[in-house]
């Protein structure tokens, strides 16, 4: 009997500790990155609160969730609002996280990621006074407080594909380029936004290099670095010299693989040259989605009372919603020819002469 109660005490203590630690993480708000905005005029804080619920990749993925958070930080700086990010450790956390934010009186809630589409549709009608922004979500029949924020990932990927298709042909570009004419795409999960990246990349590469072989690999998750590395190693061993990684945290492992085996890498969502420290030696460019723009504009319209819900907004090249990041360390290596080809593709997409496929069926 005595042993039993002692056990219960110890177990209770253990569990409390575990819960406190888990909560401390769940509710943690990352520090704002260092920014030289000390001279800026202090923006008066207003009583307006915006928040995001991350998908399972969570903050610190240096791609998708972090890109969204940038938009919140931007709104905090410029509009003086209060912001918050809640992390989802698993899919079952989506709804409770939204309920928590709603109970805490948030005015705008972003649900981040395609996987949260159904959650947004289910929860938004419950809270008609809260604006819901669904990132990467095409909302069927969105209510007046809902907006789907989508990106033409395939257009950014198309430009990345043009670059990769030309680089893999040019052995003078870099010593890591081989004669196999093979490039690779590494995806996290096979969901529509990632498929758009894949398909656009393939179309872009084939448009300038019809014979190029494109290896397509999926990790099955966005948070398994070790597997991301194995996938990239396998593709590089198969002859790929440019790897396009669209895999969140799994993609960080792919960057490691590119560094150890000697291949070039194209990042995703944000300028990964800036977000992944020490990746400059392989980071050719990144196919970026201006998640921050979509988030900031939505918050701004809600603050100013000009928010128009009931629609899906699509950000493409024409809206400056997607594009290529700078070449950074490869700026000298990228030839004028390559720049011209990318510019030509860009113009083609803008004036409609190039129609980039969105799905595998269209490819």
């Amino acid at each position: 009997m005595r042993v039993e109660s002692r056990f219960k005490q110890v177990l209770a203590l253990l569990l409390v500790f575990a819960l406190v630690a888990a909560m401390a993480v769940g509710c943690a708000q990352p520090d704002e990155p260092d920014e030289p905005d000390t001279d800026e005029v202090e923006v008066p804080t207003i009583d307006f609160r915006a928040a995001m619920v991350t998908d399972v990749g969570g903050l610190g993925d240096r791609t998708f969730n972090d890109g969204t958070y940038e938009g919140l930080l931007w709104a905090e700086r410029e509009l003086g609002i209060e912001i918050r990010a809640l992390e989802s450790n698993e899919i079952a956390d989506y709804e409770p996280n939204i309920d928590q934010l709603a109970a805490a009186g948030f005015d705008v809630i972003f649900t981040v990621g395609f996987l949260m589409t159904d959650t947004t549709a289910a929860k938004a009608p419950e809270y008609p006074d809260i604006v819901f922004g669904g990132i990467d979500q095409f909302l069927e029949d969105p209510g007046p407080n809902e907006v789907g924020l989508l990106f033409k990932e395939h257009e950014a990927a198309y430009l990345a594909g043009v670059l990769a298709g030309l680089v893999t042909l040019d052995q003078d570009f870099d010593e890591r380029v081989n004669d196999q004419n093979t490039i690779a795409f590494i995806g996290g999960m096979d969901i529509p936004p990632v498929e758009r990246f894949e398909v656009g990349f393939i179309a872009g590469a084939k448009s300038v290099n019809p014979d190029v072989e494109i290896l397509v690999l999926y990790a099955g998750s966005f948070d398994d670095q070790a597997r991301g590395r194995e996938l990239a190693l396998s593709a590089i061993d198969q002859g790929a010299d440019v790897v396009f990684g669209v895999a969140g945290l799994s993609g960080l492992g792919s960057i490691t693989a590119a560094q150890e085996r000697g291949a070039l890498f194209i990042g995703v969502d944000v300028d990964q040259y800036l977000t992944v420290e020490g990746s400059g030696d392989v980071m050719l460019t990144s196919a970026i989605k201006r998640l921050d723009v979509a988030v900031f504009e939505t918050i701004k319209s809600a603050v100013e009372g000009t928010f128009v819900g009931g629609q899906n907004r699509v950000f493409g090249l024409a809206e400056d919603g997607v594009g290529l990041a700078p070449f950074h360390d490869f700026d000298d290596a990228v030839t004028q020819e390559m720049r011209d080809a990318i510019e030509e593709a860009r113009q083609g997409v803008l004036d409609g002469t190039v129609v980039v496929p969105e799905t595998r069926d269209e490819l």
């Binding site: 909560m23 969570g58 597997r227 996938l231 945290l249």
Partner: protein
């Protein structure tokens, strides 16, 4: 195409992916042979992976990181041993608590130390043990490529796992240590009667499993990727537990089962490279390891018999 699939890099990849599973599975074997269930391998691996990065970061030495990973795994194992051996709690409950604790603790420490969630900074990794330049031309070159990639391209803990599998297997069935360990799990009362301390024996077995699970974590962070990501073990600890059962609670069997899981995973990656030829959705490939596992478990392996006293706290007298 078959020759392209069954290439040396497939087997090298299988061995790499088997290693974290094998280290943890051998730890699980030793723990469970002593009569203590250890479903906390996942948490110990995760904590080891994290502390390995911390150790390597503060000292600049990957080897010191391995040491801190080992100690980190043991520290959680000590909690498990105290709860399950001394306090005689339900071992599954204690293991679950440790798994939850490890998830919370690593995320919390990441905030404290790095100031942001997600991923830690990168640290130095352990280099491959051998670096030999062999022939590259002709028949000899092909043979050398096989030897080099499959047998010689690996990092230290990969070889350690193999040594532990062989050495541990032999020791379990041929030494006094092995006999005592098995006695603890089969009939602790008998062991007690002949003067073997059940408490001490089980403590050391649980601690050993923690050390090995910590090393499994170190393999992930300090040999494979060079940084820590929250939740990066991705249920490898549970797969290791399955490998231990599948390997019939023997170190050799544990390694073999891990190798099978690793091979299945490497194979599905390899198959994905041939999507042009095998035209199926990518989810199909991701399914391959699990299907293979079910087939093997259902067809090849017979009944696995667990140690008789597993999960039962021992009350002296």
């Amino acid at each position: 195409m078959l020759a392209d699939i069954l290439a040396p890099d497939l087997f090298a990849s299988a061995i790499r992916m088997a290693t974290p599973l094998a280290l943890a599975a051998i730890g699980g074997t030793i723990c469970e042979r002593s009569g203590v269930v250890n479903i906390a391998l996942e948490g110990m691996m995760l904590f080891g992976a994290f502390m390995g990065v911390i150790g390597a970061m503060f000292t600049g030495s990957a080897w010191f990181g391995v040491l801190t990973a080992l100690v980190a795994g043991m520290s959680l194992a000590l909690v498990h041993a105290f709860a399950s051996v001394t306090l005689r709690t339900d071992q599954v409950v204690s293991g679950t608590a440790i798994n939850i604790l490890a998830t919370g603790l690593t995320g919390f420490l990441m905030e404290v130390i790095f100031g942001h969630p997600g991923t830690t900074d990168s640290v130095a990794r352990l280099r491959p043990v051998f670096s030999i330049n062999g022939p590259t031309e002709g028949m000899l070159g092909t043979v050398w490529r096989w030897i080099d990639l499959v047998a010689l391209s690996h990092t230290p803990l990969v070889y350690l796992a193999i040594i532990l599998a062989i050495g541990g297997h032999w020791a379990l069935f041929n030494t006094r240590w092995g006999l005592r360990l098995r006695a603890l799990g089969e009939h602790p009362r008998a062991a007690d009667t002949v003067g073997i301390s059940v408490v001490r024996g089980r403590y050391s077995a649980v601690l050993t499993s923690g050390a090995l699970a910590g090393l499994a974590g170190a393999n992930l962070t300090l040999e494979q990727v060079g940084s820590f990501t929250e939740g990066m073990t991705n249920a490898r600890g549970f797969i290791a537990l399955a490998a231990n059962i599948f390997g019939r609670w023997t170190p050799g069997g544990s390694y073999g089962a891990s190798l099978l899981f690793g091979f299945a995973d490497a194979l599905q990656i390899k198959l994905q490279l041939f999507r042009e030829v095998i035209r199926v959705p990518s989810q199909f490939f991701l399914m391959v390891p699990y299907v293979l596992t079910v087939i093997v478990l259902a067809g090849v392996v017979g009944r696995a018999v667990a140690p008789a006293a597993i999960g039962k706290p021992y009350v002296k007298g």
